[in-house]
Amino acid sequence: MYRLLLVLCFFFAHPIFAQSLTEIVEKHQPNILKGSVKTAAPIIADIQAVGTEAATEFLTNWQDKALWFIKETGQIVSVVTDDKKTYQLIDIETGTLVTELAKKDIKQIKPNSGLRKMLGSALVTGKLLSPQKEIRLAGVDALIRDPKASHLDPLRVALEAEADIELKGIMDRAERQLTIQFDDLEVARVAAIESFSNDLSVEARGTLNPLLSNKIMLADLVPEDANIKGPITPGSEALTYEDAFDLLVAAEKATPVPTNAEIASILEANIENDTIAGFALADMSDADTRIKAYLALADAGKALAFDPNATIADLVADHEFIAVYVETSKAVTDAASNALDQINAKVGFSRFIDLALDGVSLASIYFLAAIGLAITFGVMRVINMAHGEFIMMGAYTGFVVQQIIPNYTVSIILAVPLAFAVTFAAGVAMERLVIRHLYHRPLETLLATFGISIALQQIAKNIFGTQARPLTAPGWLDGSLVINEVIQISWIRIAIFVLSLLFLLLLLFILNKTRLGLETRAVTQNPRMAASMGINPDRINMLTFGLGSGIAGIAGVAIGLYAKVTSELGADYIVQSFMTVVVGGVGNIWGTLAGATMIGFLQKGIEWFNPSNTLAAQTYMIIFIIIFIQFRPRGIIALKGRAAGD
């Protein structure tokens, strides 16, 4: 009643008065001190009519028992104290220091709980009807965080009055949440529940789930009018044998079975001259003897007897257990479980889509990490263990550029070609200095490049330290693309996907449509023949290797954006990259794409079954790959016939 009155007062009071807060407070001073619910409504309305922040502050302070009055003058002030001896009095209107007084000169105003509730409600109303949108929004947020039955009416009034469409939507949602929880009418609650059945948000489920909370009872003890969920079999996840037995004991339908620890403590209490009930203490290392001794004690009346042969499961088996909803209205629980079923089905589907998108995202990362390798390993049959370190060099290049150029957009745009240049140069240098001497000894390339790999890793550690360095994405890559509450994908991952797509097209173009690509393929297939046709294999090998390494550098910038840049960044990707190339089929860009797709989806798929354990997912994925290679030793997309070579 008061609430409605208050709301009405507010509406009508607003335009009429144009007094200052001080004046109003002075006018109502006696009633404020008295703090009666009956007289408070017009005071609150008057104060809210002032509409200043100080007025809201005043009401909040009133509610929080933070208002005091000076005994001598009767002036109402708010108070701050540092030492609880002297009190600084603050003017309610201006917020300035009035004076300092001792505690004996002032007295606290203590509104009763009814009045505090009223003040709270008025404050909510005030916020929800504030002319400023931010305040209204903050009001709704506060209300959702701490829902109370008393908020329902002001919220409904505010919802009616709200003009802003976005805010109206939020208020509508809040209203339905409060309706579900607090409305007296079953029909209204059911309607509100049903309105959520398309809502995938965590809050919606958070609102509906408590409605279905239930407790398990012995069938005999369930009251007539209880809202019954259904029978429960002991030994299931919902009800363990132990819990069921505890229910029986609580209902005095069974005597408690002592735990091993309880038996031990009773035995201990009855030790007499190294024997317990006639059994030697030394024999107590045997569990059966302990029970015999305990039963002997029970016979002597020193312990509660129990049947050691009956298991708890047997004892429980003769009784029925029933789950009973805490919520008494069946219509509400039915509607809630219905709505939750619908939501869960949709959430399940969305999760699947989300997982698929995660798979695509992971696949594009693997593709990006592996594509450079697909060129050096796949096309040239040179195994480059330092490939991971080229990725790392790319990431650090990005980091260094960001140190020099603070604008993230500019620095990222600069970092990409720079990373390519740095790792291209490193790749060419490595090819010229090391790999070229080892073309006829492929296993030794592995060793030599491994030496380079550990050297590069340690150099990075010496220069940049062991702690992770951030590579910050520009603002326009912050956040996620939100499709619904479940399906969201961060813009960085989308960018990586786009980047890998670009690389796929670029490489297909280079290998299939350019002179370099033609010569590369020629050298791959028959180096001697290619040389005799005027192609310089040395130059081609150098360029190809540089290209593969350069792409690793760009991959490093991309990976660095979402993973921390450390000296071990590359090492984390190297095995997966090799797997990607081998699984996909060596010597083929499409193969790498297929390999990355398979490994990305596979890993996400395994995580789906065991989401808490990504380590296990990787373990099983590698085992799967080892087995997969049994059946397709040349990968998914294999070159056939003699061209595949040995």
Partner: protein, 392 residues
């Protein structure tokens, strides 16, 4: 000594030289140790030397599988680690059981077996939030079973993996990558808390032998040192016998031209599998001797990088010659310990100081590139060169 063995040793005096040198070294260290001798070799030094001998043993295995049979395995340190885990399980369980039993003996009632095992479980697995003893620890209280596992578990893994890989004719760098993947899978598995092997905490306190708390570490370290020396000598002899046998010819043939061997009627896959499993067993035994000296084993030890270092040792020492593997492992691991241990003096350059702790790995990596490029036969190759010069 039996007749054929004597003949063998006379035919290959290098084995006698090696065994003689190893014996002298063992006697020297024993005499110099704190426990049994004059004490000019500290206990920690004895442990370092003992561990180095284990490295030499696993390097011999690596040399057999890579240098002689041509399989560049990046997984033999995984077998080494598995051997360590198997013996570590017994060491940890048995010792915890003794401690727990002693603690429970203070209680009024003598403990039941269930109480002991529950207490042991809490003690060992509390660190990963468990208290139950996983099924794979079923035999952890039986010394001889775990000793058998030191051999059987690496052998089984090597057999299953090798059978799959060789059967599908995966060779060369592909095989190397596949072994690396196997190692990574094992390491990742061990890193999990619910692997039953204490996740990344690993197994610890392995330097303490159950029931031998009264025996000083200086004595135990000498026991393990001598045991490692025996294992190394025995392993050297076995591997030498194999490479000088007809089977040695066949596996060298497989290394040089697999197809030719196949068309001569040899089942190449069976030979590779035999060598792969045998070397995995040697690696497992080496690990079982190593980790009680190291005191702790954790999954990081099994990571692929360790196996690659193993290849580095053998390459620097010189492939295809057993003493090369021994020299490589001993030299590189000891020098690495010296430089990364912080004992080496820094080099002031005026504008900067070179700290060996930081730059040793870089130097190692680059020297490895240089060895691969210019001295593919490693240190062993130099020895050959000197030997040839003398005979000229």
């Amino acid at each position: 000594m039996t007749g054929p063995l004597t003949k063998f040793l006379l035919k290959y005096p290098s084995v006698l030289i090696f065994l003689g040198f190893l014996s002298l070294f063992t006697i020297f260290v024993t005499i110099g140790s704190e426990a049994l001798g004059y004490g000019f070799i500290s206990t920690s030094m004895v442990k370092i030397l003992g561990k180095t001998l284990c490295f030499c043993l696993v390097a011999i295995a690596m040399d057999l599988v890579w240098g002689y049979c041509g399989i560049l395995s990046l997984g033999h340190f995984a077998f080494f680690g598995l051997g360590g885990y198997m013996i570590g399980m017994w060491l940890m369980y048995a010792r915890t059981e003794i401690i727990v039993t002693e603690a429970l003996a203070q209680a009024a009632l003598p403990p039941t077996p269930d109480e002991i095992s529950a207490a042991v479980g809490t003690q060992i697995f509390g660190v990963v939030g468990g208290s139950e003893i996983p099924a794979i620890w079923s035999f952890a209280h039986l010394f001889w079973v775990q000793i058998a596992f030191v051999v059987l578990v690496p052998a089984l893994l090597a057999f299953v993996f090798g059978w799959l890989a060789f059967r599908s004719r995966v060779t060369g760098v592909y095989l190397s990558i596949l072994t690396q993947a196997m190692t990574l899978a094992l390491a990742l598995y061990l890193f999990q808390n619910d692997s039953g092997l204490r996740g990344n905490n690993g197994l610890s306190g392995l330097q303490n032998l159950p029931g031998l708390d009264d025996v000083d570490q200086s004595v135990i370290s000498i026991w393990f040192f001598i045991a490692s020396a025996f294992a190394l000598g025995f392993g050297y002899l076995i591997v030498k016998l194999i490479v000088e046998s007809r089977l040695g010819n066949v596996i060298e043939g497989i290394r040089d031209d697999e197809a030719r061997v196949r068309f001569l009627g040899y089942n190449v896959e069976a030979y590779k599998l035999f060598i792969f499993v045998l070397t995995a067993i040697i690696a497992g035994i080496a690990g079982a001797l190593y980790y009680p000296q190291a005191g702790i084993i954790n999954p990081a030890e099994v990571a692929p990088i360790a196996s690659i270092y193993l290849a580095v040792w053998v390459a620097i020492g010189g492939r295809g010659r057993i003493y090369g593997a021994v020299i490589g492992a001993a030299f590189v691991s000891l020098v690495s310990t010296y430089f990364t241990g912080g004992q080496a003096p820094d080099i002031p350059l005026g504008f900067a100081t070179i700290k060996w702790v930081d730059w040793w790995t870089v130097l190692l990596g680059l020297s490895f590139v240089i060895v691969t490029l210019f001295a593919p036969k490693g240190i062993g190759g130099l020895v050959d060169l000197i030997a040839r010069e003398k005979t000229k």
